[in-house]
């Protein structure tokens, strides 16, 4: 099977800081690659270079045979990549339904005029969240008023609700309750079965081992090592995170 995503020679500087230096990896359809690494290792920066939020200082990303580098987040999303960012990026003043559908709003017709279908978006949001184990007490409330985990769940729902070929999840379970964490892990399993490629960023070792087909460990902007979960151990991964060379 050929790789669906290929990152070659990725590099990113911020002012004087080289956050990412020469990173290369591939992801195959139906495969879950975990990006692990210490805080500030460059994980979020890498996925932002894939999703079009940052332009790499050097290097290229190809997806499905096409070059992604230089494209806008919009174009990347249209190409079939959905991303949940660590900072969620919700519109705090809108309700869960509108956040879920932001950019792809459902419309209906009233007297022949196309208008937003707030209600059906709201209902769909309640449904999707329920499938993640989350109950939103008041679906008309702006997401500003929601708990940390409820907000996290909306961001996840936003990514999985669309039929993407690659889903990127940056610490998706960070704020989730235990039952919800289990839901998300199950969800990743289901997506893999459907052939969706997944890049997961996580600091939770049990989750990493449960979900990963391959673990890529970053340390200070470079790949410190790559392991299959069956061939490694918690301690080795932590050693790699802390900068031990493999």
């Amino acid at each position: 099977m050929t790789a669906i995503l290929k990152a070659t020679g990725l590099k990113k500087r911020f002012g004087g800081i080289e956050a990412v230096k020469d990173v290369n990896f591939e992801v195959h359809p139906g495969e879950c690659v975990v990006l692990a690494g210490d805080n500030g290792a460059g994980k979020s920066t890498i996925i932002k270079m894939i999703s079009g939020v940052y332009q790499p200082t050097e290097g290229t990303v190809t997806f499905d045979g096409e070059k992604l580098t230089g494209k806008s987040p919009e174009a990347v999303r249209r190409a079939g990549i959905e991303t949940i960012y660590q900072d969620l990026a919700l519109a705090d003043n809108l309700d869960a339904g509108l956040n879920l559908y932001l950019g792809r709003e459902k419309m209906t017709r009233v007297l022949g005029i196309p208008v937003l279908d707030r209600k059906s978006m709201r209902n769909a949001a309640v449904e999707v969240l329920k499938s993640l184990g989350i109950v939103v007490p008041d679906p008309t409330a702006p997401v500003r008023d929601m708990s940390g985990g409820q907000r996290q769940a909306i961001a996840i729902a936003r990514a999985i609700h669309w039929q993407a070929k690659l889903v990127i999840l940056d610490e998706p379970t960070a704020a989730l309750g235990v039952p919800e964490q289990r839901e998300v892990m199950a969800l990743i399993e289901r997506m893999k079965k459907k052939g969706v490629a997944i890049i997961l960023i996580s600091h939770n070792l049990p989750d990493i081992f449960a979900a990963a087909d391959r673990i890529i460990v970053l340390a200070r902007g470079v790949i410190g090592g790559e392991r299959r979960p069956s061939e490694t151990s918690d301690e080795e991964i932590v050693r790699l995170m802390m900068g031990a060379t493999s």
């Binding site: 999703s51 939020v53 806008s72 987040p73 919009e74 999303r77 249209r78 991303t83 960012y85 900072d87 990026a89 919700l90 519109a91 705090d92 003043n93 809108l94 509108l98 956040n99 932001l102 950019g103 792809r104 709003e105 419309m107 208008v115 937003l116 008309t140």
Partner: protein, 323 residues
């Protein structure tokens, strides 16, 4: 919640109307509110403010500001008057419509420049539109030769001063545009994206919306409603003045904020702005009507603006503790 907010602004408007009504009955034995004449006068004054603040509302909801409307209005007024003067008023409605199109186009140009500055060059909107404020002002004055351009066109006059079914044309226009802006902000994707943009630019950007195009459109809409304000001005006064909009700028901005918008963006409604504009027009009319000495009127307008927002505040407290 949104409908509740509007209910409270309405309430305040009703309160000041009630105040003036009681005052008028006691002091002069007349009615204040139930005279078509008064209602028309107030509505026309409110619509002139409203035309500047409608598009501005959308810009403010998106977290920006547009100061250039002060002179988009003036530019449109001057260009319309000049076209009528140059072609001559004999050609009737044709020339008036042509002139209005030209005036509107000149305002749209200002809006495009604003959009380009803010969206493409990342100039903060306060500075960018302050810059185009100066440019539009200079251009309007140069085009007009510094003074007002007076015209004699019966058609233009009837456009500015006529009535349809007893509703003055400027009021009708303002209400139609208000309805359009309200629809845009509440029932369309464009509106949702505008709110989201005001709350968190990243949210819309990552949702794949072309934020730059969106910003340009917002500033063009703002320029269009302000430009229509200029056309109405030229029609009403049979003269285009470069500074037609400038004295109204502060009131237009105030209407938007009284209507519930906030400097930080993400908040505000067109209905709120309409009520805000009417609150201002009612105060201005009512204070003169009640015979308050002129300097006290400044004080009273200041107080009422503050109280208008306090009423809005107490709503939050009341609903917070009641419901």
């Amino acid at each position: 919640m949104k409908s509740l907010l509007n209910a409270w602004s309405w309430l305040f408007l009703v309160l000041i109307l009630g105040f003036f009504e009681i005052y008028a009955r006691i002091e002069t034995g007349q009615t204040f509110l139930f005279r078509i004449y008064n209602i028309q006068s107030i509505s026309v004054a409110a619509s002139q403010i409203l035309l500047l603040s409608l598009g501005l509302t959308l810009v403010v909801v998106a977290g920006h500001i547009d100061l250039s409307i002060a002179f988009s209005t003036g530019l449109a007024a001057v260009v319309m008057a000049l076209v009528i003067r140059i072609i001559g008023p004999e050609s009737g409605w044709l020339v008036v419509i042509l002139a209005m199109a030209a005036g509107l186009l000149s305002a749209v140009l200002v809006g495009l420049v604003n959009g380009w500055l803010v969206a493409q060059l990342n100039v903060p909107s306060f500075i960018g539109t302050l810059g185009t404020f100066g440019i539009a002002r200079g251009v309007a004055l140069i085009v007009a030769g510094g003074a007002t351009v007076s015209i004699r066109s019966e058609e233009a006059r009837s456009f500015g001063n006529g009535e349809i079914l007893g509703i003055p044309v400027p009021v009708l226009l303002a209400l139609v545009l208000a309805a359009a802006c309200h629809f845009l902000l509440t029932y369309t994707k464009f509106g949702v994206h505008t709110y989201a943009l005001g709350a968190n630019r990243a949210s819309v950007e990552r949702a794949g919306v072309d934020v730059k195009k969106h910003l340009v459109m917002l500033f063009v809409i703002s320029a269009i409603t302000a430009g229509v304000g200029g056309l109405v001005y030229t029609g009403r006064f049979s003269a285009g003045a470069a500074n037609a909009g400038e004295p109204i700028l502060l009131y237009a901005v105030a209407a938007v904020f009284i209507g519930g918008a906030s400097l930080t963006g993400g908040q505000g409604t067109v209905i709120g702005t309409v009520i805000g504009a009417f609150i201002i027009a009612v105060i201005q009319f009512g204070l003169v009507f009640s015979g308050l000495p002129p300097y006290w009127q400044f004080v009273a307008v200041g107080l009422v603006i503050i109280v208008a927002v306090l009423v809005d505040q107490s709503r939050d407290k009341l609903t917070g503790s009641l419901s």
